[in-house]
């Protein structure tokens, strides 16, 4: 399968599926659901194909920029004829889109994006399965669902900033309707709040992209490109000032605000609890599992590499924001009485680790910095799995009891033993119990933070106690105790088990064998770290970081 076909199908297939769902004849909801499930499954299968060709091609060893350089696109002077060279089998494709503004149809995968593409495929498939209970406007729901899947895939695939922005913005729309139509009591409020917050954030991103496109230091020509990799390779171009601030600082600050809103980090997080509480369960899974990762992905893929010097100048702000997010999220989670809101705030807290891991820029010894970014990346994957599982489990309870009030739950362990077991495991995974996936990420991040600032690291480490506090307390209020009114509740159905099982397996697997992911994600992350570090004048041997030691050491 050629690169173009494979990468394009990853987003085009769900897009075609969203139309196909609308065309399903008759009034049979089952046919619609089946079609949607089939399309999601095929998309996931495609992402696995991409994964296998990534591994078998040994692509983890070649930097994305080197691979991209082999795929060229030239427009002949005068005739306007386009000729492109596509190196087969390297998971990068570069085609023309709007030549006048040099906007390319530029897709590519490396460890960072591929891991999130896989996550997207998996979580979407599970969320689709979890959507079986939707009974209102089924066609519209699944059509929008697949549209959302298509745009999320596109975000992770795009390497052209314009293309990225198009997919990024397009994501809002299906989400707006999925929350607004199929949501809970205050759905309209939550939907418009989500829309406006994210739209506001994307303005910052757009301005940053425009600055990158047009900025020219004195006596030089602007780069006039949206090619993210080319811009990253030319960061020294952005050394001047704009409005009295360093260009890189401005670009970084703009991207940071845009993506922190999406992530979300305190103080831009207030849309998240509302959106989560009002969204239907599968959409919460997607929102927590994937959409929040778009923010983290934007930071790690765009914000840091595009403006490394600016990032270093502002990194302490980001680190502080990260720690504040960890603590604030955990404390707020502790105060919630709504089960879903609690899980939502736990997401805020966990995303704080991502922020902190990225921001702990120890340039004296970039090895530790690399730990932090690897940890952040791992946190995104781990959180994608556990938080999707947590929201799904909340949904399971809600389907049966129609309440999320923690005060009215309790004693579910007796009534639903399978549910209880799964819940325990996934919540512990989120808490960071050693041997489960969350632990690896937290260790990496805190380890990195210790080598950056003791104060922040101690606060972040102390937050583990808070995390344990709200998770254990929540489990106690939901599962333990006696509550006769819940007697005779049906345990998880086969379908629900099918949704939960992959998440459980992955929670354990990622906790025990982190190297199975870090082995192919790590090199890409390390290359980003090395580029950022060398742009800041740090020693270039960061590239030599042997990650296998670090990973092996932490999972003992």
């Amino acid at each position: 399968m050629s690169d173009n076909l494979l990468l394009s199908l990853l987003w085009a297939l769900p897009l075609a599926g969203s139309v196909l769902v609308l065309l399903v004849p008759g009034r049979s909801d089952l046919a619609v659901k089946g079609t949607a499930l089939g399309v999601s499954a095929l998309t996931f299968a495609l992402s696995l194909v991409a994964f296998s060709s990534y591994l078998s091609g040994g692509l983890a060893e070649t930097p994305l920029a080197d691979r991209a350089a082999l795929n060229t696109l030239t427009v002949a002077e005068g005739t306007g004829a386009v000729s492109l060279v596509d190196e087969p089998g390297d998971l990068v494709f570069r085609g023309p889109w709007i030549p006048y503004f040099r906007i390319q149809y530029f897709l590519g995968l490396d460890g960072i994006s591929l891991s999130l593409v896989l996550l997207t495929g998996l979580i979407s498939l599970l969320a689709c399965l979890a959507s079986w209970g939707i009974d209102r406007s089924v066609k519209g729901y699944f059509s929008l669902f697949l549209l959302l899947l298509a745009s999320m895939m596109g975000v992770f695939l795009a390497l052209d900033l314009f293309l990225f922005f198009v997919f990024f913005e397009f994501m809002l729309l299906p989400m707006y309707f999925l929350i607004g139509v199929w949501g809970g009591a205050r759905k309209e409020y939550a939907a418009i709040k989500f829309l406006l917050y994210t739209l506001f954030g994307s303005v910052f991103i757009l301005v940053a992209i425009l600055v990158l496109y047009f900025y020219a230091p004195d006596g030089a020509e602007p780069l006039h490109t949206f090619d993210a990799l080319r811009l990253m390779a030319r960061t020294e171009h952005f050394t001047g000032t704009i409005f009295g601030f360093g260009v890189q600082s401005v670009v970084f600050a703009l991207l940071l605000i845009g993506f922190l809103i999406k992530l979300p980090a305190v103080p831009f997080h207030t849309w998240l609890p509302d959106a989560h509480v009002e969204a239907p369960t599968p959409i919460s899974m997607i929102l927590a599992g994937i959409l929040l990762k778009v923010g983290g992905y934007g930071l790690i893929r765009l914000a840091w590499p595009l403006a490394p010097v600016g990032a270093f100048e502002l990194s302490w702000v980001v680190a502080v924001l990260g720690v504040v997010g960890i603590l604030y999220g955990a404390l707020a989670a502790m105060a919630q009485t709504d089960f879903k809101r609690l899980v939502a705030y736990s997401s805020v807290s966990h995303m704080g680790y991502v922020t902190l891991g990225l921001a702990a820029m120890n340039l004296i010894d970039p090895r530790y910095y690399s730990y932090g970014v690897n940890g952040a990346m791992y946190m995104m994957i781990a959180h994608g799995i556990t938080s999707a599982g947590m929201f799904f489990l909340v949904g399971v309870v809600y389907d049966r009891l129609h309440t999320r009030d923690l005060g009215q739950l309790g004693g579910l362990m007796n009534a639903m033993p399978v549910f209880g077991g799964v819940t325990m495991l996934i919540f512990f995974g989120s808490m960071g119990l050693p041997g489960l996936c969350g632990f690896v990420a937290e260790v990496f991040v805190v380890l990195s933070a210790f080598n950056y600032s003791y104060g922040l690291a101690i606060l972040a480490a102390a937050a583990v106690v808070l995390t344990a506090g709200y998770i254990l307390w929540a489990l106690q209020r939901v599962l333990l105790g006696r509550n006769d009114s819940h007697r005779g509740l049906p345990d998880m159905s086969m379908r629900e088990v099918a949704v939960a099982a992959p998440l459980v397996v992955l929670t354990v697997w990622l906790g025990l064998f982190p190297q199975s992911v870090l082995g192919w994600v790590g090199p890409s992350v390390d290359r980003v770290v090395a580029a950022v570090a060398s742009a800041n004048g740090a020693m270039p041997e960061a590239e030599e970081v042997a990650l296998s030691d670090a990973a092996g050491g932490s999972s003992r």
């Binding site: 427009v75 005739t79 006048y100 913005e169 707006y176 418009i192 303005v203 425009l210 490109t225 409005f243």
Partner: protein, 558 residues
């Protein structure tokens, strides 16, 4: 230009004016058909017959525009000479392409008009629509101030009358009255401005004015701008009042909300799209071509010119339009404020075009981006007004809340309407996004000395488009998030096809903008390079406006 020994009239030039002639005559035919053969028939039957007949007008225009393409070059007297009738009217790509756009908008407006019975006088109504289109076409093509003013008046007088056509509604009468009173004052001031301009330069030709101004600037050795030139400044201000009124730019916008709300939906659509389209093109011709030497600098030292005034108007217009739109409940009134806001965005583009005209780099690209935006905006806004026509037909009112539940009842049209709203917000992948971005890219591409001012304007515009998402989302909310037991019923064909067509355009040009961008760019380069046909020997050659290769092949990086 009274010719002492004039060249003979070339009647074959009339071929280039055939769309205008056709529509004028066809309007007369409609008038007579309505009072002649159809006399005594009930109103709704006359509405359908006369409306269908009226559609022949724009279709005929398309046929006339396509005929030279089919017959090949040289046929039908289509000559390469871009100016007609002693250089007063242009027959350039700008005029032909905009004739096509205006005919398309006219067809959509006629379709919407056939939705319901808001008047009895169908012959007069459709004739007015056609004649307003004639005014717009001439306005786009005008190369001379008197023709420009006449076309402007022809267009607006037809629209004054049409706005008041829903006789049994007081608001419609109010709409026509307000539009008329504001409009006539603005016209008078505009005419005074034009006369001052004539007094200062001694010519009424746009290109002639430009040459005189360039010459006098060269003679005095000043870099241009208006500093110290009181009369010139007055003329520019008065001309801006006239155009500002037509565009509904702040502070000349007060008529717009009342008129748009009160007038029948098709007429509001016609005012918001065609009238705005033609006026903005005329504004660009006058400012970018004739008055370019008076532009002044944006960030430089050369003193003030109209650029700064337009910048202030643009900033005020988009901000005010968006903030005021937030509070609206009526669909047409909301669209009125949205059209005010969009006028502000377009003025930013005009500024960028001006700055690039002066630095001579890519004038046609920047102006072409504005034209592209203008066309996309016109198409989408007509589609949005079609929804108002649908509501007015079914429910007799057109609040946003009346759209409730249409997502369930008419999912196809509701999706199309949603696409239109997204395009108006400027969300990808719609044409609204691409056109807005293309325009802002050109703005930022402009002369480096002006970049900081322009960057601020662009940032303001982007923040404004986020604000606008709030009120456009209100329509989305009504369509899909609400349920209602009142329904306007199924949409009539005249309403549905404009909506579908506009939505198709919004998506199609969003994914593949290149054809329209290219044609708009060639139109813009024609607009900026037009010259008087017989070059008077005593005047110097016009300052070179950079001739731009239209389809620029540029090497992309590897």
């Amino acid at each position: 230009m009274p010719p002492s020994s004039p060249p003979p009239i070339d009647f074959s030039q009339l071929w280039a004016l055939s769309p205008e002639i056709l529509l004028t005559l066809w309007g007369l035919v409609l008038l007579l058909v309505d009072v002649g053969p159809l006399r005594g028939r009930p109103g709704s039957s006359r509405r359908k017959t006369v409306g269908s007949l009226a559609l022949i007008g724009p279709i005929g225009v398309f046929a006339l525009l396509l005929a030279p393409l089919v017959a090949g070059p040289g046929a039908g007297g289509g000559d390469p000479d871009p100016t007609l009738v002693y250089g007063t009217i242009a027959g350039d790509p700008l005029a032909t392409s905009f004739n096509g756009v205006i005919a398309l908008l006219l067809a959509m407006v006629i379709g919407m008009s056939m939705a319901w019975d808001f008047t009895e006088h169908w012959g007069a109504y459709f004739a007015l629509l056609l004649w307003a289109a004639v005014g717009m076409m001439v306005l786009v093509a005008a190369e001379e101030l008197l023709i420009l003013f006449l076309a402007l008046e022809l267009m607006t007088i037809c629209l004054y009358l049409a706005a008041a056509f829903e006789k049994d509604k007081r608001r419609s009468a109010e709409a026509g009255m307000k539009y008329f009173v504001y409009g006539s004052v603005a016209s008078a001031l505009f005419l005074f401005g034009l006369s001052l301009l004539y007094g200062l330069t001694g010519t009424t030709f746009l290109d002639g004015i430009r040459r005189v101004l360039v010459e006098s600037a060269a003679a005095t050795g000043e870099a241009g701008g208006l500093s110290g030139d009181l009369v010139g400044a007055t003329a520019v201000l008065l001309i801006l009042v006239g155009f500002g009124f037509k565009l509904a730019a702040v502070p000349f916008h007060q008529w717009a909300p009342d008129t748009y709300e009160g007038a029948p939906a098709p007429v509001s659509a016609w005012i918001a799209s065609g009238s705005k389209l033609a006026s903005l093109v005329a504004l660009m011709k006058v400012l970018l071509h004739a008055l370019a030497p008076w532009a002044g600098a944006v960030g430089g030292e050369a003193g003030g010119g109209w650029v700064l005034i337009v910048a202030a108007i643009a900033a005020a217009t988009m901000t005010y339009g968006n903030l005021a739109a937030l509070a609206q409940r009526n669909l047409k009134r909301m669209l009125a404020y949205s059209s005010i806001a969009h006028a502000g965005y377009m003025l930013v583009g005009v500024l960028a075009a001006m700055v690039t005209v002066r630095s001579g780099s890519s004038a046609a690209e920047a102006a072409g981006a504005v034209l592209f935006y203008l066309v996309i905006y016109s198409l989408t806004t007509v589609g949005a007004f079609a929804a108002a026509a649908w509501l007015a037909r079914g429910l007799g009112r057109d609040d946003i809340d009346d759209l409730d539940g249409l997502g369930v009842r008419s999912p196809g049209l509701a999706v199309c309407l949603a696409i239109l709203m997204l395009s108006l917000i400027g969300l990808p992948p719609t044409a609204g996004f691409v056109s807005k971005l293309a325009m802002f890219l050109e703005v930022l591409n402009a002369d480096a000395s002006a970049r900081s001012t322009l960057l601020l304007l662009v940032a303001l515009a982007l923040v404004n488009s986020v604000i606008s998402a709030f009120y456009y989302a209100r329509v989305l909310r009504a369509l899909f998030l609400r349920r209602s037991d009142r329904s306007p019923g199924p949409a009539p064909r005249g309403v549905s096809w404009p909506i579908v067509l506009a939505a198709l355009a919004a998506v199609g040009f969003g994914l593949e903008p290149a054809p329209l961008v290219d044609s708009m760019r060639s139109a813009a380069s024609a607009m900026l390079t037009i010259t008087l046909p017989p070059s008077p020997p005593d005047l110097p050659a016009p300052a070179p406006v950079a001739a731009i290769p239209v389809s620029g092949g540029m090497a992309m990086q590897k």
